[in-house]
């Protein structure tokens, strides 16, 4: 029985790095995703558009309020995430460590998924 984990990638808001910086990172990321798939750890992975493209909805009474922008304040937001399955936290942290290395210096948060 395996446990699923969410590997969230936090990145600073603002311009993406230029192609000469970003391209090798994306190539390494693709390679890591393929390795996760080969080992049966990969469930799915996404990259997100910037937080400025987000819309927040919140139900109040009979209405649903709508606001522009991301829910959380701050200068860093989730830029993407990978869902993996692993035997235990050590295995998940090992994948997380690999992901953080590829995406250095962006922090990666590893969190167990309930369902």
């Amino acid at each position: 029985m395996t446990q699923k984990y969410l590997l969230s990638i936090y990145q600073p808001d603002g311009e993406a790095p230029p192609p000469e910086v970003l391209d090798p990172i994306m190539a390494n990321l693709t390679a890591l995703n393929e390795e996760m798939q080969a080992k049966g750890a990969w469930v799915f992975a996404v990259g997100l558009h910037p937080p400025s493209t987000a819309t927040v909805l919140k139900a109040k009474d009979d209405d649903v309020l709508m606001t522009d922008g991301p829910f959380t304040e701050g200068k860093e937001h989730i830029g993407g995430f990978t869902v993996i399955q692993a035997e235990d936290l050590d295995e998940a942290l090992e994948w997380g460590r690999r992901l953080a290395t590829v995406l250095s210096p962006l922090p990666v948060e590893v969190r167990p998924i309930v369902f």
């Binding site: 984990y5 998940a92 942290l93």
Partner: protein, 412 residues
Amino acid sequence: MIEEIFRAEYGRAVSVLTRVLGDLDLAEEAVQDAFTTAAEQWPVKGAPPAPAGWIITTARNRAIDKLRRESKGQEKHAQAVLLHMLQHQPDEEVGDVPDERLRLIFTCCHPSLALQAQVALTLKLLGGLSTGEIARAFLVPEPTMAQRIVRAKGKIRAARIPYRVPRDADLPERLKAVLAVVYLIFNEGYFDKEALEAEAIRLGRVLAQLMPDEPEVWGLLALMLLVASRREARLRNGELVLLDDQDRTRWNAGQVAEGQDIVRRCLRWNRPGPYQIQAAINAVHSDPPTDWHQVVALYDQLLAHTPSPVVALHRAVAIAETEGPRTALRQVDALDLDRYHLFHAVRADLLQRSGEDPTAALEAALERAEHPAERDLLRKRLSLATADQQDHADQHEQDHQDPQPGGHATGV
């Protein structure tokens, strides 16, 4: 009797039951139930020939009973658990009582848990300390400590922190974390420090017994024994007594001998590490008069392993003995340790021994020191220094600061 067995066997019983039941809370509850039963039965019927085995068997049976009672509507799950337990029936022979404490230690000291949580879990699950005792030891309100423990256990369960000894590749790093937790327990307790010191030494012995091939485990045990051996001599009427002024007949000879013996064994091993070197330094101090050249050489080794200004400060104190206070003072002044009270205390001592006014340095030390006994000692030195300055007396206090590394930089 039960108290002694509780201290000695609680951790082992919890470790085995956690393996069997796959859950820390269930394991703790079952073991506590077993000890409650023991407290009722043993005074009447007498203690069983193998108390440890009895506790584990009783705890397992209690857990089975409890699961049976609670299994209505959840037959399948409960049956699976029971089956699992039957496959893990521990033998009741004394020598065969299993020991899963290493797994438990590595789980409690998992690096994904906050250090404070690692300390609390280790004391609770391996030492059998109550939440209240741990809270008092670290000057934290009991509800805060309870919450910290519940949160850590919740993370172990939900995030699936594994219940196992790490693989060889990860072992050095993970072991470092475990040793750091044990050393922190040894150093950091405020309330009933003696009990925490004893608990840390007990944990050190368990580790040495379970990982006999790790020199740093022995190094930590020796370090703790040698520092603890001077506990009785360290305080006189609530005041700190510096190493040179201590009544050596009040050192614990058994701990000194054991610590020195382990240090000699480590030297033969020749796989040095920070704890072994700190133990060796303390072993030199335990064999007066201190061979300061050897102490300097050991600090050089320690600096190579853990280059830090604090270690450099301690080395400078030894340099004062081999090359004089002025050389030491120059080295101390180059260190960026303004916020550290001992930096100023050491400076004061070196200034005084160089024939200069230590008042300002002592005041700086007093401003930064927190420990009451340390503050008393500094106040005493300050009033002496002030009197000294007034009298223009040309009398040098033989008041050597002789700090030890790690948490024992107080020179006592």
